[in-house]
Amino acid sequence: MNSTNMLLAAPELWVMVMACVILIVDLYLGEERRGIIHMLAILTLVFAAIITLRADYAADGVREAFAFNGSYIRDTMGDVLKLFSFLILAIVYTYAKFCLRQFRMFRADFYTLSLFALLGVMLLISANSLVMIYLGLELISLSSYALVAFDRDSRLGSEAAIKYFVLGSMASGMLLYGMSMIYGATGTMDLGQVAQAVRSVGSDDPLLVFGLVFLVVGLAFKLGVVPFHMWIPDVYQGAPVVTTLFISSVPKMAAFAMAIRLLQTGLVDMQADWSQMLSILAVLSIILGNVAAIAQTNIKRMLAYSTISHMGFVLMGLLPGTAMGYGAGMFYVIVYSLMSAAGFGMVILLSARGVEAEKLDDFKGLNQRNSWYAAIMAMVMFSMAGVPVFVGFFAKWMVIKAALDAGLMWLAIIAVIFSVVGAFYYLRVVKLMYFDEPLTEAEIDAPVDFRAAISLNGIMMIGLGIFSSSLIAVCMASFGA
């Protein structure tokens, strides 16, 4: 525990080195050879996955291993979340290349910034001390701010970036304040030692509870749950769709890991308190997210509200404080990230020549223009709505079951009722695609790698649903359930 053991963090080191390499290589590439950057980025992800999979630490049945004097942890949950981050980021890159080319924004900055954000995601997932959590979070946030303002000529984008930046800084400040309270009460940054200190101090220490409130607020902002959600719709809508695609998927997994590290590793003895806080946040999010989404006519905004409700469900998995619940939450967040990537991927696909297809009406009559793409979008929508057989159903089912097992009947009932309300706006998209006349007959064209990626992503919606048990088993095993 007191050694540096740097090789354990090889995936992070690799991603960091490659981000810098891409930064430098780009200096020597002209506009027409930018494709190399894309290939390098994909390569980075592939090798990062390979390095992660060679988890030597787990050789003798060891469940977790530490590095950098205990501030870094490798465990199954972390590895699984990282692997899915790589997968989803690879999908995001494939969508992004097509989109950036169309919008004449194909610059290497997108790749370097998002790789640094990925580094932040990985560090946050593997953080085992308060300071690493904060730094990982800041690394993600800083890269995200820049990515939101990536389209420098877009006023909406700049405005969104400023909002995101100011509110994000506020949330970081609150988180940091909470951390300082926890540090003040326990005298340590290491989460394992925090847990021990909490046990000796007693979980009803007002200082601890006070700190916990601030921590939960910081966490809630990052996840985007009510009432700390206000940035989500504006940022999702204002940012270029590639950025929305990115920030709506990969960082959510980091936020989940952050919740696990802080609440389950560090403050597990205060479960009674944070469970109540999370349940209020979860209920508000599920209600507000689903209801507000109905009034939206902009698909990016609609998906933003849908994100809010999905994050409410993730919290619902967390709050019982059981291994089953954590596993369910993890499954949900992975599934959500995949669904979100596919949803925004479809928005990118329909964006013709420099105009984002962000109106719901742009999906009208999609079935007549291209039935396969309509089928993909329909699968994504069904999955998000939680229609059985699709993977989203199992995700919802698992968290609701976790809540029921914990005796939270009222929470489960609210979740079910508002899922039904939510189904309305998802199915409206399906209705638009299949029963309305298209506004344009323009051919939908995309390069072959894009088509492959979106098809794969769409088929996952039903494929992972039918074969959901292995992924669920992995998620459950991460928490020993």
Binding site: V166, F210, L212, P227, F228, P233, V291, A295, F467
Partner: protein
């Protein structure tokens, strides 16, 4: 390649073919899609045949294993699993063979259809679903396959969705099957309730344990659980296998393309109900009441549907009613515990009925989609191959000695005769008279279509859509892709019964799947008089069925060949009988007036008063309006002003501190 890989490939190849032909229809093109589909189903057939071969000659043991566990909930496992015994291997081979033939035939039949690739995708998907159904080792997968074949069937009935009648027929099939499926689902739920398992072997293993338990559905009447379960399951089978009174969808399903009528609505899907009951024999054996019910339903269907077939003029409808009647025979066999006889008849029927349908399709192609027999006649000269194969199919259907249908149908009749179950004497008369009727309408079809004088006129300048009875081109024999499947189907129609009756029926070959209690074993009773297939023929020459069959032939020959005018005279002499038959015993009208119209009335009433007023006005619109209003409010909060957002966060923070730090 291990056996398990092969078994996995058998259903997955057609699925893959369906995916390729359906999803990439523009990429692979017409030829590509039929090659992919034929290849997938063809390989699947050869693999199925290999598995059957291993079972017959290689002493392959029964395989029962789980392929994939979907989820485990409260100890009940939801899984995909295969149960490969002689019954499923036989079904797999029959299904893939007929499907393979139909695939090839479709190239010719659908040659000019714009939905060519879609069609191949559907039938390959159907093959997959049917295989999943027969290979299943649990009720969940059975139900999945059950619904999936149903779905494809509705899609295919309504394949020509521009024809209003086709869409209506699809809807009708869908609705009627819902009634059956409701029963089926209730049955499965009851099984789950009673046994706490979805797995066949577990359920069958415990079947005896609930034999004495009863349930009181209507107060005062105690029902045996097992009877309730079996009758519920059988209601499902009635829907799928079109038994009276849920038969009404099958004749209408002839709106679909003919290859579909052959594959789905004659050879395979409609026999799923028969297969299911045979598979469930360990349950059905425990309930005499349920078996009696099964037998009587079958008998009614077998007799009455054949009668209706006599007066139909549409060539496909005649065969459709014949299918209904034959399904009735199988059901009767199930009812007298002669499960193996039912499966045997199912197999032979699959071949000769597919043959008859495809033959009818061949005629329809030649006559430019004219299906009315009143405008046919004399086609034997122009279409010799179709004519000969149709004769073979007909002889098999009526049970002419040495043909496959003879062995299967005679066995059923004998088994019914030997049975002592309540009501079996009624059933015996029904199936016996059914032979006469079958023979009569079969020869009527043959004579009207292929013999006599042509009742159509060839007029080259008649335009694209000439009136009935006028053709643009003279009919000619269909292309090879049509005739080769006919010939290939004709071969088993002749010989399969002779070759397999001994092992399948009396050799106990199916006994690893089918359980018959000794006191019910009608087949064994029949088998005790069985001395080989040839002896069976010589014995049959002196029995009633043979002479009834001959009687039907003579009657048909006399009426339609010797004195063609007599048919009309008879029709005029017996207007009431004719009208009853013409209107198919008024079953459709009954449903229309009792259920459909009343339901529509109730529905309208509910819609106007309850729905439009209360639910729409108050609940739906009200809550929609409420949700809309709230939604709009939230939009107002989401003003876009940064300071408001920050303010919201701070309020949230203060609120949380107030609740958790102050109040505790």
């Amino acid at each position: 390649m291990s056996l398990k890989t092969i078994l996995l490939l058998i259903p997955l190849l057609p699925l893959a073919a369906a995916a390729v032909a359906g999803l990439f229809r523009n990429q692979v093109g017409r030829a590509g899609s039929h090659w992919v589909a034929i290849l997938g189903v063809g390989v699947s057939f050869f693999l199925s045949a290999y598995v059957l071969y291993l079972q017959v000659f290689g002493n392959l043991e029964t395989l029962n294993y789980s392929v994939y566990t979907w989820m485990v909930s409260d100890g009940i496992r939801f899984e995909v699993g295969f149960l490969i015994d002689h019954l499923s291997a036989l079904m797999m081979t029959v299904v893939t063979f007929v499907s393979f033939m139909v695939h090839i035939y479709t190239i010719g039949y659908m040659a000019e259809d714009p939905g060519y690739q879609r069609f191949f995708s559907y039938i390959a998907l159907f093959t997959f679903s049917m295989l999943m159904l027969v290979m299943s080792n649990n009720f969940l997968q059975l139900f999945f396959g059950w619904e999936a074949v149903g779905l494809v069937s509705y899609l295919l009935i309504g394949f020509w969705f521009k024809r209003e009648s086709a869409v209506a027929a699809g809807l009708k099939a869908f609705l009627v099957n819902r009634v059956g499926d409701f029963g089926f689902l209730l049955g499965i739920a009851a099984i789950l309730y009673c046994f706490g398992s979805m797995d066949y072997s577990e359920v069958f293993g415990q079947a005896g344990s609930i034999s004495g338990e009863t349930v009181s559905i209507v107060a005062g009447f105690e029902w045996q659980w097992i009877t309730v379960i079996c009758i519920c399951l059988f209601i499902g089978a009635m829907g799928k296998s079109a038994q009276a009174p849920l038969h009404v969808w099958l004749p209408d399903s002839m709106e679909g393309p003919t290859p579909i009528s052959a594959l789905i609505h004659a050879a395979t899907m409609v026999t799923a109900g028969i297969f299911m009951v045979a598979r469930m024999s360990p349950l059905f054996e425990l309930s005499d009441a349920a078996l009696s019910f099964v037998m009587l339903i079958g008998a009614v269907t077998a007799f009455s549907m054949g009668l209706v077939g006599i007066v139909q003029n549409d060539i496909k409808r005649v065969i459709a009613y014949s299918t209904l009647s034959q399904l009735g025979y199988m059901t009767v066999a199930l009812g007298v515990s002669a499960y193996s006889a039912a499966i045997f008849h199912l197999m032979t029927h699959a071949f000769f009925k597919a043959l008859l349908f495809l033959g009818a399709g061949s005629v329809i192609i030649a006559l430019h989609h004219q299906q009315d027999m009143r405008f046919m006649g004399g086609l034997r000269k122009q279409m010799p191959i179709t004519w000969i194969t149709a004769w073979i199919g007909t002889l098999a259907l009526i049970g002419f000695p040495f043909m496959s249908g003879f062995y299967s149908k005679d066995s059923i009749i004998e088994a019914v005769h030997a049975s002592t179950r309540f009501g079996s004497d009624v059933a015996y008369w029904a199936v016996l008279l059914g032979v006469l009727i079958t023979s009569f309408y079969s020869f009527r079809l043959l004579y009207l279509t292929f013999h006599g004088q042509p009742r159509y006129r060839v007029d080259v300048g008649a335009g694209d859509h000439p009136p009935d009875g006028i053709l643009q081109h003279a009919p000619k024999e269909s292309p090879l892709v049509v005739t080769v499947p006919l010939i290939l189907l004709a071969i088993p129609s002749i010989v399969i019964g002779y070759m397999t009756i001994e092992p399948v029926l009396f050799g106990g070959w199916l006994s690893d799947a089918i359980m018959v209690l000794p006191q019910n074993d009608a087949v064994a009773e029949v088998g005790s008089h069985f001395h080989g297939p040839v002896a069976m023929v010589t014995h049959a020459l002196g029995t009633a069925p043979f002479w009834l069959m001959i009687g039907g032939f003579v009657l048909a020959t006399f009426i339609y060949q010797v004195r063609p005018s007599m048919a009309d005279q008879l029709q005029q002499k017996m207007p009431r009988l004719h009208r009853i038959l013409e209107n198919k015993f008024y079953v459709d009208e009954f449903y229309q007036s009792v259920f459909v119209r009343r339901v529509i009335n109730i529905g309208n009433g509910l819609w106007k008063k309850a729905d439009a007023g209360l639910i729409d006005g108050v609940l739906v619109n009200g809550s929609a309006r409420l949700v809309g209003t709230i939604s709009e409010r939230i939009r107002l909060w989401q003003s876009g002003f940064l300071f408001q957002y920050a303010f919201a966060m701070i309020v949230g923070l203060i609120g949380m501190i107030a609740i958790w730090v102050m109040l505790k």
